[in-house]
């Protein structure tokens, strides 16, 4: 399926990541945005609100984030592609309903323009500290898909991708952008509608009386119907059987909700590799940090260290296999993150003790200093032995505040 | 002041006199005090404070009756009145 030319604002624009995400959503055929203003994501909501009447989309600003995500659930079940846009504190409020969406397998997209936390933190500054929350934030067992853009162009592209994945797997998909990408203004090329591939909703095609809401196809994803087509749907967020009726047994659909992502992980996972053929050190990064990492890698290559970058485009599901594979032939992994260690734990898990793992932490607010990443790369080259646990690299900023002295976890 | 009839307590009533103090560097130049001063004591000045705003200055100090409306209407805690020590003028 191709995009509708009416929805796509073809051309070359000079816009920021937030606006690009809104344009991406519209191009993907998103017809509903339930939002609530929160810095630094408001630009996206504003852009959507301005364009909405032109393409027949609906924008509503709800009374809070709990309300806005709940409207998205309803809108999606009524047959429209729907999304919400928020930032850290709003994301925390949405946690309960994310579980609801996962349970009822509602396709929806959340754009989280991350800021520094915890709590109110620094509203106008960048952070990457919601990555684990995106995966584990709601109670119970479920799986999500997250994408992490590093430029306004990618904000546009990945938003479309997010909608496609949401429709394909009927799962919550999150675009984990950050303030830096959100407020960065760059050239964004919006292609023509017939160049944009969209995943149509998996609509049920059989006879009406035979429809079973949660009877999965071969890829474990069940087809959907819209509300108001005469199917007399009953959906319940209680554990349910294939008919959607409450079933008090863990052997209900819950297992499949997890499996449909885990077993299809190879199709979902997308990564970008650069210079890994001869690499001795691998920088694992995502989002805005990967842009900073490139600078460090350039410098390291200049000084003769063989460094490659492994960029996570889908952070969840995590590319376990590839990291394990790489670990067997490299000296170590450097993981720069704008937090005090989240994805680095995943890397450590997948390395299975075959290589060193160095975390370059950052409290948030700004991006890394490339020198710190370079320092961490050199640290791995220097290392004579395997570290016990993750080595937390002491950044210049930490030294400035707390004085030097090596701290190990 | 002129009265049609002389009030009985006119000898006891004193019209208070006030002295306006402006903390120039706190002012953000909203103009509320100038606009709502009932005796037109204040006016926006030409000078800049350290934040780049034009603070008011006391144009007619003798008019001030210490009503303190400017103090109440200042969002920036930049202006206040104190009662003058000297005796008020009897009408």
């Amino acid at each position: 399926m191709k995009a509708n030319p009416k929805d796509v604002r073809t051309g070359v624009f000079y816009i920021d990541g937030d606006v690009a995400a809104a344009e991406g959503a519209l191009a993907a055929g998103c017809k509903f945005l339930g939002g609530y203003p929160i810095t630094p994501s408001t630009e996206a909501a504003e852009a959507f609100a301005r364009r909405a009447p032109q393409v027949g989309a609906m924008f509503i600003q709800m009374e809070d984030e709990l309300g806005s995500i709940a409207t998205v659930m309803g809108a999606s079940l009524s047959g429209q592609k729907a999304m919400t846009i928020t930032s850290g504190p709003g994301f925390s409020l949405m946690m309960e309903t994310i579980g609801f969406g996962a349970m009822l397998e509602i396709p929806f997209v959340i754009i989280n323009i991350q800021r520094s936390g915890p709590s109110t933190g620094l509203p106008t500054r960048t952070g990457q500290a919601d990555m684990m929350q995106a995966r584990w934030g709601s109670h119970g067992e479920y799986e999500v898909i997250t994408l992490s853009p590093d430029s306004p162009q990618e904000s546009f592209d990945f938003t479309i991708k997010a909608f496609n994945l949401a429709e394909k797997y009927r799962a919550p998909v999150m675009l984990m952008s950050d303030e830096c990408v959100g407020h960065m203004t760059e050239k964004v090329e919006i292609p023509e509608a017939d160049k944009i591939d969209l995943e149509p909703r998996r609509l049920y095609k059989g006879p009406k009386d035979k429809y079973i809401p949660f009877k999965p196809d071969k890829d474990l994803v069940p087809p959907m119907v819209k509300a108001g087509e005469g199917y007399r749907l009953y959906l319940s967020p209680l554990s349910h059987d294939q008919r959607g009726h409450p079933l008090l047994s863990q052997k209900s659909t819950t297992r499949r909700i997890v499996d449909k992502i885990r077993l299809n992980a190879d199709d979902i996972i997308e990564t970008k590799e650069d210079g890994l053929d001869d690499a001795e050190v691998v920088v694992v990064s995502y989002g805005i940090t990967s842009r900073v990492a490139y600078r460090a890698i350039e410098q390291a290559r200049k000084s003769g260290i063989k460094v490659g970058i492994f960029r996570l485009i889908t952070v969840w599901p995590f590319p376990d296999k590839r990291i394990t594979e790489l670990a067997k032939r490299v000296k170590g992994f450097v993981v720069p993150e704008i937090n005090y260690g989240q994805i680095v734990f995943e890397v450590e898990r997948c390395v299975h003790g075959n290589a060193n793992v160095v975390l370059v932490p950052h409290g948030g607010g700004w991006v890394h200093n490339p020198d710190d990443i370079l320092g961490a790369i050199k640290q791995i080259m220097k290392a004579k032995k395997r570290y016990e646990g993750i080595f937390e690299y002491k950044t210049e900023l930490e030294k400035l505040i707390f004085g030097s002295g090596v701290q190990k976890k | 002041m002129k009265f049609w009839r002389r009030p009985l307590d006119i000898d006891e009533i004193k019209i208070p006199k006030g002295e306006v103090h402006i903390i120039k560097d706190r002012c953000k130049g909203c103009g509320f005090c100038v606009e709502y001063c009932p005796k037109e004591v204040l006016e926006i000045s030409e000078e800049f404070n350290k934040m780049g705003y034009h603070p008011p200055y006391v144009k007619n100090p003798d008019n001030c009756l210490n009503c303190q409306l400017c103090e109440m209407l200042c969002p920036d805690f930049a202006i206040y009145c104190i009662e003058k020590e000297e005796e008020g003028i009897i009408a």
């Binding site: 203003p37 504003e46 | 909203c30 509320f32 606009e35 705003y53 969002p75 920036d76 805690f77």
Partner: protein
């Protein structure tokens, strides 16, 4: 400047001045009125707490030199509830904006009023979400423009005094930022009244609401209040909707007696 002392400085965190509010904003005036009311009420300043949520008015707590708490968006009232119940000696004042108290915190507002928890709620209503850049608020009048209602607002706004009264508040008043002395008096009365008391302050937002709607600066808004506000005490609260650039009814609308939560709780336990 350091030697000059404003008479209200005692109640302010002078190490944080100047505050973040823009030129012509009414939140500063609310602060002035609050401080004046505090001076008048002669309360033990050690026992007064100010709780704010998020937003422009959310910064209120940070400038008042009392025990002051800047909490999360919409949750100032439940936080204050905890403070009050755990230490009934405290006098708790919640100062927050319309979006914070009525939109995201609307549920808490209703229920705290229903329980009649002893607190003063000062709601600064500037018709817009200003901290995030001018989005539509639950109080934005019909037809007004905001960044998320670029074609004019078509959602009917909330009527804060009516919500407060119907939920059970014992004291409800509304003033504009211009009615500074009456506002001070209302806050003073609210501070002295046990129970859930609400004072709504109509405040100019010179940077967003009036800029987007081309209504001039803060002073122009004040002049507008001067010409268009009508004092009608005891007006039935269902008449208090605010239309775009139309008459604003201000005054004291509700003043009644109900047992507070703490009183009822004690009585209940004693039985």
């Amino acid at each position: 400047m350091k030697n000059v002392k404003h008479p209200m400085d005692f109640y302010l965190r002078m190490d944080r001045m100047p505050h973040i509010w823009c030129t012509g904003c009414g939140i500063g005036l609310t602060a002035t009125a609050f401080v004046a009311a505090m001076e008048k009420a002669k309360l033990d300043t050690n026992k007064v707490c100010v709780v704010s949520g998020i937003g422009c008015t959310g910064r209120f707590a940070g400038y008042i030199k009392l025990d002051s708490f800047h909490t999360t968006h919409g949750r100032a009232i439940p936080f204050a509830t905890g403070l009050k119940l755990a230490n009934p000696e405290l006098k708790v004042v919640v100062v927050s904006g319309d979006g914070d108290l009525i939109s995201i915190g609307g549920n808490h507002f209703i229920h705290a009023a229903r329980r009649n928890i002893d607190m003063v709620v000062i709601c600064v209503n500037n018709f817009i979400y200003a901290m995030t850049g001018g989005q539509v608020a639950p109080t934005t009048p019909l037809t007004a423009y905001t960044t998320t209602s670029p074609y004019g607002n078509f959602e009917p706004p909330s009527n804060i005094p009516q919500i407060a009264e119907s939920s059970g508040a014992v004291y409800v008043a509304r003033w504009t930022a211009l009615h500074i002395r009456r506002l001070t008096n209302s806050i003073f009365e609210a501070l002295n009244k046990p129970g859930f008391t609400v004072v709504e302050v109509i405040s100019p937002c010179a940077q967003y609401y009036s800029r987007i709607n081309r209504l001039g600066d803060g002073l122009d808004m004040m002049k507008f209040y001067h010409e268009n506000s009508q004092i009608k005490h005891w007006e039935p609260t269902d008449n208090l909707y605010i239309d775009y650039q139309k008459e604003i009814i201000v005054g004291k609308f509700v003043d009644r007696e109900r047992p507070t939560y703490s009183e009822s709780y004690k009585k209940w336990l004693a039985e």
